[in-house]
Amino acid sequence: MLSWDIAVNRAINNAVPKVYKVLSEHPYVEELAKRLREAKLEVLNNLEKYVEETLQSVKNNGGNAYYVHDEKEAQEIVGKIVGKGKIVVMGKSMVAYELGIRKYLESLGNEVWETDLGEFLIQQANEPPSHIIAPAIHMTKESVGKLLKEKLGGVDENSKVEDMVAVVRKFLRDKFVKADVGITGANAIAADTGSVLLVENEGNIRFTTVAPQIHIAIAGVEKILPTLADAMIEPLVQSAYAGLYPPTYVNLTSGPSSTADIEHNRVRPAHGPKEFHLILVDNGRVKANKDSVLREALLCIRCGRCHFHCPIYRAIGNIWGDPPYSGPMGAMWSYIVKGDAKPAMYCVHSGNCKEVCPMRINIPRVLEHIKNLGLHSQTKM
């Protein structure tokens, strides 16, 4: 059997039953998912207004907020904030990957480290991610051991997973402590408070958002929710449908660190970052939002559940779609951000993805629409 077949079968057999179990043990999650869909639709129906509100709310908190149209603008702004010769730690961000932020910062002479274990592994292997929340899913335990032996030493292909994790932990702890800038994505952003929500299990995102003096969050405009109450739902739903419930950590950041310990006067900074920057990204999303069928894709919360139910992903997943967007959601997103209709052509409309998607996105219908657009225009095929 090919190594992809082995790796993906292991992942499916682990992940799929876990999600069913989580959903049956916590039936309220399905209700939350419905509410989340409604809240996200409210934003998509009034996108401009919510983008404005979010930018203003972040400024009210003493943060800096930007709206960027494309990769170039995003790189320029991040480059200006970071500068040269810095140590940067990154918490897994698909949007940062989409915009080529790591490579760009490296080209400016910065030392940049991915801190999510999966993302760290693919950075070390110089490979694209193969799953939206488990980017190194294509690697078997044995291949990880081999890679770490070459890059960091201390373990080999026969080592226990615990030992492999410990080696990376030791290496990255040093980087967290020395880092000047932390870059993350955002699972949700509250328009009314300018708060950013991040969900994780490893603790690397906490480190990234708090240890360095500067925190930059980069996210697509579709991550905005009307209120902080709505935004708080997203990490619960996302982690449940990823089969990782309860999540180990949920981080909420509203501007630079602050204290109100002297006369209850809120002043910034305190121990955490001195600077907070939010970069809201269009890069094809605004155009997609104007198309009533494509708009559905913007509801995706990146739980990665559809991947594990898709026969195409199982057959060719790690090379299907434009990195970091693979799987059924990736076939939609490859078109939105890269104008690439080719991955959509591979949809066999098995319909499993629509059955399991927490956002009730009829993915096969979105892909059918993309196929039609691709076949009748000069888009990348």
Binding site: D5, N13, V16, P17, H309, P311, I312, R314, A315, I316, I319, W320, K342, A344, M345, Y346, V348, H349, S350, G351, N352, K354, E355, V356, L367, E368, H369, I370, K371, N372, G374, L375, H376, M381
Partner: protein, 294 residues
Amino acid sequence: MYHVNNLSEIGKILVDNLNRYYMPFPVDKKVCSGWAKDLPRGGDTIIYTSCMYQIEPAVGMFLKLLPSISSFKGLMPLARLVKPSKSQLDRAYKILNNIVKALEKSGIKPGYLYEEEPYSGAILLEMGFLEEFREYAKKVVSLFKEKGAKKIITVDPHTHNALTRYQEFVKHDLEIVNYLELVNYTKKVEGEFTIHDSCLYSRFLGLREKYRGLIEKSGIKLVEDEMITGKDTSSCCGGPLGPVDLKVSEKIAENRAKDLEKLSKRLLVVCPICYVTLLPHFKGEIMDIAEVIF
């Protein structure tokens, strides 16, 4: 590992054939209609095969030719040579006759359009040629009207799906119903089988419980596993991907067959495409339910 065929070129050829023959490939219409002997021609209520059971066993030959389609200006004569074998046709004809018998037992005597029967256009819809599908759907609807058909009884999931979706593309008042909604099992059967669901019946058209009910009432014991035959987990056979990328289509079929083999060496299917796609990969016996319970 994956290489997408030249789809615009394939689309042009499909549309050209549909305009000429009401079929996506040039097919001898007698191959399609040869199963029906004494059904009335036309009528209010017709059985509609879309030539799927009849021609599907030969489609693999076309799929193999597709990657090099632009270099074949003379594909038509080549295509004419591609014909299902006698045993493949006998099997298809038996399935269709069994379906008619089951309909008759339920008090329905359908008519049939014989060689005037058009293909549904499903391949255009499934490949994403929505504009071409709209144009073709209009033609098929007027043809049905011209022939006086009011109620269309479909016998396979791809045709049923295409026809139920006509409404989104062209206004009409035809009633579209699938034979599974109208029949009961007619034979008591013993033994164990596993089942490969049709994606379209199961997850798009709401017929999953219908055929499972018929199968179980007939006495068959279905061997199931939530991770293999569950509604959210049962995979596609890969067949509909054939025109896009045959290699990946076959890889999916191989994966699917391997999973199903773990449950039983006897497999039931409800779709002619699933049958043809899984056949080379499944180590065991595959039967359409219409061969078994009617």
